[in-house]
């Protein structure tokens, strides 16, 4: 999949403002970004459901403008918002989705058995969808997207609303799909999810790509090895911070704590104490993708 200068406008509003990326077969690729960054708009273009308004896009080597239907027959989509028929049973939702793809009835029924097990919904097969919990519906949506055995699976915030057990289960299942050669494209707000699942990822903000690379490389590039979190007393963060500003490559003062971005966290804490400062608490941790994310896209809410 290759995008060059890919753009999406809705009237005067530009949701995706010219992005470049290329994803190879078998890879698992992530899109990170705050609310409104343009992730869903991008996914919908890649899934050939929404025509791009500028730039170039090729999916599975084909042009979505001319071969949308063929491309869609070979990809699976887990949309951000579930689109299940609440009045029908779990089983029927799978069956009808298979029929959209013109799959033979027998084949769908066979696959449905495996997919229900995959989603741990076998006992609910004959129940209506409506009373299922949000997480169960999400699992059903994911199972459904696999009914056509897609080569490329697009997941728009697949684990939002899932409990930790279900998230880990899903990660495991996605990992298996990947090892079977399925290309995964994932958007997420969860940094641990991106670190777990993505070979490579891009960070989007306001319709643009602001960083790209493997999770490790992004951390190395945009953050330090470790982060020290210090809490001084109420309203004393600024005073504390000025006294130790020289200790860190970068320092961030938040209302409730001070973050020091450093190479060696323990050494930094020792130095803080040596200077006679007594923070209420101090914590040394490794840098995560979350630090990169916040650095690149800011801490304030965009909308």
């Amino acid at each position: 999949m290759v995008a060059q200068g890919l753009e999406k406008r809705f009237g005067d509003f530009t949701a995706v403002a010219g992005i470049d990326f290329s994803i190879s077969r078998g890879e698992s690729f992530g899109f990170l970004g705050p609310n409104g960054a343009g992730k869903t708009s991008t996914m919908r273009m890649v899934a050939c459901m929404s025509p791009h308004t500028g730039g170039q896009l090729s999916v599975l080597g084909m042009d979505p403008r001319t071969s949308g239907s063929t491309i869609r027959s070979r990809i699976g989509l887990v949309p951000q918002q579930d689109s299940l028929d609440d009045e029908l049973t779990v089983e029927d939702n799978l069956y009808l989705y298979g029929r959209y793809f013109d799959l033979p009835k027998r084949l769908i029924r066979e696959r449905a058995v495996r997919l229900l097990e995959f989603a741990q919904l076998t006992e609910r097969a004959k129940d209506k969808v409506e009373p299922l919990s949000g997480g169960m519906k999400r699992r059903l949506t994911i199972a459904r997207s696999l009914i056509s055995e897609p080569e490329l699976l697009i997941l728009d915030e697949p684990t939002t609303g899932l409990d930790p057990q279900a998230r880990h289960l899903l990660w495991d299942r996605l990992y298996r799909l990947k090892s079977q050669g399925v290309t995964l494209v994932i958007t997420t707000h969860y940094m641990d999810e991106a670190e777990q699942l993505c070979d490579r990822l891009v960070v989007m903000d306001k319709g643009r790509i602001v960083a790209e690379g493997s999770p490790r490389a992004l951390i190395e590039q945009h953050s330090t090895r470790e982060v020290v979190e210090l809490r001084f007393g109420l309203d004393q963060q600024h005073q504390g911070a000025t006294a130790i500003a020289d200790l860190a490559e970068r320092i961030e003062v938040l209302p409730d704590r001070v973050l020091l971005y450093v190479h060696d966290g323990d050494a930094a804490v020792a130095e803080v104490h040596r200077r006679g400062l007594l923070p209420e608490s101090s914590l040394v941790r490794r840098s995560t993708l979350e630090d990169v994310f916040l650095r690149l896209t800011g801490r304030s809410l965009v909308d």
Binding site: M49, P79, Q180
Partner: protein, 272 residues
């Protein structure tokens, strides 16, 4: 456990070979199985009750005092009108809430569009389903009419295909409005200001010459008038070739034109 979810990799998927619209129609049919019992019994009960109360009860009064309408018993006059009016009501109902629901509530249309299906398949599949539903509704209605002895000609069987065309002509314009609407507030207005007046004044219950001259012209411009006219002519076996050809042409043209407008609306709303 499920080790091989994708056993086939990139191998081409086996398919049945049905065109997209037919898959959509079959999905509607599958979904309908959930409610067919209540839906069918309503299609049966409505004509039985109406024909008994208005046709037989009111009819005997009218026949006694006015000698029927244009030379036929009131029951024979009324029944085809009611049939066409029922087709209108059901076609419009199927084209309002279910359509906006599939866009906004269940989001089923979006699920369909993530598959190889396109908006044209959705429109065509939906309208074919409407035609199938109207065939069922009109066939049941005709059966009830036959039991009341009001199908006076074998031509009456042609009411089934006519109802299919009329159903599409009623449903398609409404669906092309519904798919674009952001809520269901307009639907009550459609019922109040379009469906009910048409149902009452399109010569369903009384002949055209009972209306004041001005309203006669208006009535003749409405689709239900032509549906009623054609249905009545076929049931009574009293064909007025020119007039009835015009009725049919009106319905076919409306069905065709509004199918195109429906396709444009679906595309506008669902491909963004």
């Amino acid at each position: 456990m499920t080790d091989q979810l994708l056993e086939s990799g990139a191998r081409p998927q086996p398919t049945v070979g049905w065109p997209g619209w037919l898959r959509v129609t079959s999905v509607y049919a599958h979904t309908y199985r959930r409610t067919w019992r209540s839906s069918m019994s309503a299609s049966f009960l409505f004509p039985v009750l109406y024909l008994a109360a208005m046709g037989v009860g009111l009819g005997s009064l009218i026949d006694h005092h006015a000698g029927g309408i244009d030379g036929v018993r009131y029951l024979d006059f009324l029944a085809p009108g009611l049939l066409a009016g029922t087709v209108l009501q059901i076609a419009v109902a199927e084209a309002t809430y279910p359509v906006v629901g599939a866009v906004k509530w269940t989001r089923v249309y979006w699920a369909m569009l993530a598959s190889p299906l396109g908006t044209d398949d959705l429109v065509l599949g939906f309208l074919v389903w409407i035609a199938v539903r109207m065939a069922m509704v009109s066939a049941i209605f005709l059966g009830v009419m036959a039991a009341f002895g009001t199908v006076r000609s074998p031509l009456g069987l042609l009411v089934v295909p006519v109802s299919m065309i009329a159903g599409v002509a009623f449903a398609a314009p409404v669906a092309s409005y519904a798919v674009l609407s952001t809520n269901d507030q307009g639907f009550a207005a459609i019922n109040r200001f379009i469906v009910v007046p048409l149902f009452l004044f399109s010569t369903t219950f009384f002949p055209l010459h009972q209306l004041p001259v001005g309203l006669r012209v208006v009535a003749q411009l409405t689709p239900l008038f032509h549906g009623v006219n054609l249905t009545r002519a076929l049931c009574l076996g009293q064909i007025a070739p020119l007039q009835n050809a015009a009725d049919l042409l009106y319905l076919v043209v409306l069905a065709g034109a509004s199918t195109l407008s429906c396709a444009a609306s679906f595309k506008k709303r669902l491909v963004q």
